[in-house]
Subunit: 285 residues, 4 copies
Amino acid sequence: MSINKHKNWKEKLHEIIYEADTPAGKIFDIVLLLLIVASIILVMLESVTSFAEKHYDFLNISEWVITILFSIEYIARIIVVNQPKKYIFSFYGIVDFLSTIPKYLSFFILNSHSLVALRALRLMRVFRILKLARFVGESNNLMKALRASRAKIAVFVFFVLIICVILGAVMYIVESGQDSGFTSIPRSVYWAIVTLTTVGYGDIAPATALGQFISSIIMIIGYGVIAIPTGIVSVEYSKNYSDKENLEEKPIQKIRLNTQICSNCHHRTHDDDANFCKICGNNLH
Amino acid sequence: MSINKHKNWKEKLHEIIYEADTPAGKIFDIVLLLLIVASIILVMLESVTSFAEKHYDFLNISEWVITILFSIEYIARIIVVNQPKKYIFSFYGIVDFLSTIPKYLSFFILNSHSLVALRALRLMRVFRILKLARFVGESNNLMKALRASRAKIAVFVFFVLIICVILGAVMYIVESGQDSGFTSIPRSVYWAIVTLTTVGYGDIAPATALGQFISSIIMIIGYGVIAIPTGIVSVEYSKNYSDKENLEEKPIQKIRLNTQICSNCHHRTHDDDANFCKICGNNLH
Amino acid sequence: MSINKHKNWKEKLHEIIYEADTPAGKIFDIVLLLLIVASIILVMLESVTSFAEKHYDFLNISEWVITILFSIEYIARIIVVNQPKKYIFSFYGIVDFLSTIPKYLSFFILNSHSLVALRALRLMRVFRILKLARFVGESNNLMKALRASRAKIAVFVFFVLIICVILGAVMYIVESGQDSGFTSIPRSVYWAIVTLTTVGYGDIAPATALGQFISSIIMIIGYGVIAIPTGIVSVEYSKNYSDKENLEEKPIQKIRLNTQICSNCHHRTHDDDANFCKICGNNLH
Amino acid sequence: MSINKHKNWKEKLHEIIYEADTPAGKIFDIVLLLLIVASIILVMLESVTSFAEKHYDFLNISEWVITILFSIEYIARIIVVNQPKKYIFSFYGIVDFLSTIPKYLSFFILNSHSLVALRALRLMRVFRILKLARFVGESNNLMKALRASRAKIAVFVFFVLIICVILGAVMYIVESGQDSGFTSIPRSVYWAIVTLTTVGYGDIAPATALGQFISSIIMIIGYGVIAIPTGIVSVEYSKNYSDKENLEEKPIQKIRLNTQICSNCHHRTHDDDANFCKICGNNLH
């Protein structure tokens, strides 16, 4: 009976942590959501030097509170689950683990003066944001559309890269000797990507007439080419969309208006102009 | 009878103010439109220091004229309406009220030297532009498409924000120590948003080779991802569009122009070129 | 007979100038095309100060040659046409006239030192490019799609303008006192338009944390909103496209695979599974 | 027999070089792919002055190794092919030749001090990237969509160029006398293209109020217009897409899964749930 009780306690916790259809489960989810957002804001504020110097204690204590709460959550998840190993090595398991340890690690490394390692640790805490993935739901159409058009987008990216390498090399030759930032081919390729994607920082911009002429051609031609990913995703998405519609409503391919049911074999899907049942030959009228 | 006359006067004014199918109503709408536009231009000109100093009197008097006219309009709307309370606390009622009061308030606050409060008041007058919403009509397809894709766009925005936070943190590490503007994670996240949306101010731009390499990946991959909202709105809009078409015309799946009804079996859906009833064999002519 | 001959000469010239199906007509069109392009390049080169000073004579003589050729073309068009008045006051007539006169006018104004007038005259010659409209053909789908979505795009532009005015005013308050370029509301509205359209020059960019935060919201939300014109044009264009397809090929709604022809009444469009002719009742097999 | 053996050797090599369905053929393709990528990276690194000075020997030797391997590949391709002339003057033949010679040529030109010629030669090696075209496959939908919408995109580009020339000329007049970069019409046209394509470097940006006003109009109106190529490509691509679907699967209008053939009348297109032949009444089971 004690085992049974223990089981019940475990099951209840499982319901709270992994499901969201009980009041307690909903509260758990909301608290977790707020914790994640708070921890991200903390990491961000820590990086603002003026703020970090002023409020060092506040940041340090808050970080410890969040770390401890995440630790409790992580341990609870392991205890509650039937196959702990499967959870620990799942995507969410790894994210949860990495979200918890940075502060503990910083405790050990604090003595050493390896600032870069500390930076990287602080960075890792930003990935806590991936815990939010739980709240998005994986079955949404956007992801499906992206996944379905993966191969096509890869071909497109490959195509754009080839164009950018060639254009970068050409612009490197054309703008060499100018003080316009085309100091090497890699930098020129970077410029070509910035231009083709219409981002256009302006940190590197052609200074010669010929360079500006070539850039103009790139932009205009490129604008036509760059419309392709939109086309791919639109088509893929609209296809997905209508597929779903079909499953929910009915296949488009054959819409029968005839709602007659054969009085003999109770078959329903007769052609609109059928007089006799296709299945048993019974007169439909 | 006097009450009846009074009623008529109220009804006429209601027609002028709230409807646009009488000549007087049309004139009222056009005058109001011009007044709103004029008041917006006034606020804008007031903010141009060189202009404001030169033409202080002109701006002050014009603003008083517009404020008084808006006051008359606001009072008239309250008098004319059957349920004044409902109007006063409606969206348009609040906008009309806020459009009217700033100048009156500035009259009182002028003595004090609270310039910030004055600024905020001047700002409020800009929201008069919301009065124009009345002229747009709420039932247009654009709004419907946006409203229908609200949830999807929210998921997308959420998704973009997660990417931007992670990228911002990565770039903060990579570009730290450089004079390229990545001074904190929030600023880096701002940069990531500017880059992913292809705005690309260039006030913050990567200076290291690694930073430029990461940026290039962001831009190219991001370009594919960012095509999604266009896809969503296009599909939603085209769905809206064809829904409307269907209601107006007829189901696409089978369009029969033949409206003949069989005199024998009263069957309706004959092919356009049918001479004999498909169901009972009766001559249709 | 002399009149007849004169008529023939006129008719032949008409064919050469206005049609392109004779060899002479084609040559005329190509020469005109080259002349227009040459005249545009001349105006452009004239504006490059270093070039204009070096090659003043070349530019002056070339411009006179082109002006005289355009004059001959203009006079020829008037003589040849049946209703000269109708041509003169048509779109092309006005463009042709304005393309011809600038150099003549500059002859008169040269004495006076009104440089601004001269500039405007030089500018006018650029509009010769509109003569190229003749070669595009007016019945293309692009124009139809744009014309069909005119009203929707107007509503959209109106909507964007309202957003930009409000955002401009908000940013003017937020960034006031900073050296970031938001010196007046009109300038801030200009910035908002530059940002919402994802152009992003960077000549004006937010410097405060709050300003960058608001900008980020504008960009992300704005990106979703700005996808609308693409949606509108895509739908309108694809509608246009399928309309044309339908007319050319056949209605999509009903595709009959049955190619049998009734031996009695020679009717063709039988249902795929018909055994008897729907029109005359003749057995199809 | 010796001839036969030689033939076999040739045939085997042909299979390795031109096909990818044998293990050896796959290895050849992967090695070639890596070689091309390596050679592109070499050219890029060579352009980074700091790197090139440090690692001159490494770059020189690597370049020679790659050049020799490409030479072997080129000669092998010529030997193996049945019609060497046809290969040599084909697109791939020319690309392969140009990919091989630069280093040899630099050997001869090294003595002379013609640095520009050397630069151009280095550039040529970048075009080795075109060898990757072999791996993309020519029959992908993207290319088809682009090819199908070629004419429409040309009209669009022509249209954009006309707008840009006019806008450039107008902005040149408006911004003349300012230090904002509109020093000549060609530069202003360059600016108009940068703006209309939403790249927006910011190296040239309007400084006057009127200039900013005109720019705002350009951006907003332009945004609507510039949506067109996306529309064109989307429609063309989605058309391509559904065409392919149709060919692969069957006409959408009627998809029958029933592949039974009536043993009596050999009729094929029975409904999925048919028990009796619709044509002759024969039992299908």
